[in-house]
Symmetry: C2
Subunit: 320 residues, 2 copies
């Protein structure tokens, strides 16, 4: 049990699950005999690419928005996001019937902007820097009285993200390993708490792009290290890991490994071609670790959270 503002344990994750159940998909788990044979393991893919808004982020945002008391909720919610979390908060606010204010960097993908607009949120554009995002969001909150729904440093978000692992471990018995990518660490911290609580002997392994390896560095150094961001195609994972998230990761995660950009693109394409499902580059990151043998899964039963499927079909990474 680790403190964020409040502790997050399996109890909070179960409560989040009850809160969000009417509003999210219980996503399917798919398997591929071809990939199992090629990798000498039994792989179970939890398809959060089929989740509402096309990504697991719907879980955490809905959990946090529906955890607010009525008086607070009426003031609205706010966040800054260039990607799936903004759409997830906008959708959750619409479901609850409260205002959403989303700060987006001016260079956000048009498809992401349209998604947020589609849920009727108020969008405020800012310069594409972390500082501008945070200051613009803080100013908006000061003016509107809205509540910040941070994309990973928020206990209800962490609890919500942990519900994917709850479903995975309930649907697939006797998993030896559970794997997910790590960016800010919202999904990883929730996954780790859920998995270790439900099945203490399970190994929790996170995978990170080598070009954005602050979580791996931090994990191995035993202290949180903030790094300069290099480019990675896994745009959902460019963030540095959050402080409360890192404390949970230190307690519950068994290893964090890294993969190259080439391996991420190759894994994404392999999943598309063999499983006929669309996953985004960030979702391909754990698959890259498996296909590159960056982790040893021989004979094991491994659950992999495929985090999202929002891809610009006009700009695929293997296009000329």
């Amino acid at each position: 049990m680790v403190e964020v503002d409040h502790p997050v344990s399996i109890v909070e994750i179960r409560a989040a699950h009850e809160r969000i159940r009417p509003h999210i998909h219980h996503t399917p788990v798919l398997t591929s005999e071809g990939l199992n044979e090629a990798n000498g393991a039994s792989l179970f893919f939890k398809c959060e690419n089929f989740q509402k808004i096309g990504a697991f982020k719907a879980r955490g945002a809905t959990s946090a928005v529906f955890a607010l008391d009525d008086v607070t909720a009426q003031q609205g919610v706010a966040t800054h996001s260039s990607g799936n979390h903004g759409a997830a908060v906008a959708r959750a606010a619409k479901l609850r019937g409260i205002p959403a204010n989303i700060v987006m960097p001016s260079n956000s993908a048009k498809v992401k902007i349209r998604a947020v607009e589609g849920y009727g949120a108020h969008i405020l554009f800012c310069e594409p820097t972390e500082e501008a995002r945070e200051s613009t969001c803080a100013e908006m909150i000061r003016k509107t009285g809205a509540t910040l729904i941070h994309s990973f440093e928020n206990e209800h978000v962490i609890a919500g993200q942990g519900t994917a692992a709850v479903e995975l471990l309930e649907d697939v018995r006797n998993l030896d390993v559970v794997m997910c990518p790590v960016g800010g660490g919202g999904l990883l911290s929730g996954t780790a708490i859920a998995a270790k609580s439900m099945r203490p002997q399970i190994k929790v392994i996170a995978v990170e792009p080598a070009n954005a390896d602050d979580a791996a560095q931090s994990f191995h150094a035993g202290r949180r290290i903030v790094t300069e961001k290099k480019f990675t195609i896994a745009d959902g994972l460019r963030t540095n890991v959050g402080e409360p998230n890192f404390r949970i990761i230190q307690c519950y995660v068994d290893d964090i490994v890294t993969v190259s950009e080439e391996a991420i693109v190759a894994a994404m394409r392999t999943i598309w071609e063999t499983m006929k499902i669309i996953i985004e580059p960030s979702a391909a990151v754990p698959c890259a670790a498996i296909l590159e043998r960056a982790i040893e899964l021989n004979g094991k039963r491994a659950g992999i959270i495929l985090t999202g499927g929002n891809v610009d079909l006009d700009a695929l990474p293997w296009s000329p």
Copy 2:
């Protein structure tokens, strides 16, 4: 009950299902609330893109190869195919441990050639014309004594293709409509027999590219019309409908409608973006009819067979 060489009825389809069950996937049925809302209907997508070899063709080919008696089977099987049927026959022959001889046009996609090779089949290349394919295949059969597994004019193939509709109607109750594309008519004839036998009030609606509309022309004229082939991106549907298939279609199919090339590409992209699954152009053809309102589904429960997901990711139809 309609004669091919032997009659095909739900009894033969059930028998085919038992024969192939150990070798094929019972594929999932997916739904999309977004597409349901946009179209005012309840749509149930039978995901044969997740089938073995990435297409429903695994059902018919496996049905036919496993229907052979042992003495005949030992002489091997043969077919001509530029696409999924060749891979399906090669795979079924490998499973049964008998030789497969596949005639492929010299301009077949490399990925299709690799798939057939991967199952250990003997490939014979020919000129890319229907005449060359048939004469090369006939010559190969004369030399080897192999049995022809025609891709649609074969009662065991028809019965095998009908098993997708059996699963769909068993998994989704009270369907008003079942839809599939039509090329040679193997899938459509099997689907129509299965659906009308299991649920006589169901409407069976086929969809065809306007650029290859021989089945629609034939259906409305009441006699089989063979047309010149224009180009269609739905490469699985360029074939003229078979004679035995057309007789079944006349008995059991309620309508055949056509869609434009633009509608096919738009529908394919919509399915990719909203459902996060990969379907090939031929599989998008019924979806195009729905999205273009070429058929009236208002308030109805419609099952759509998504026939396959084998796409060259380097040559997508919306690429510049």
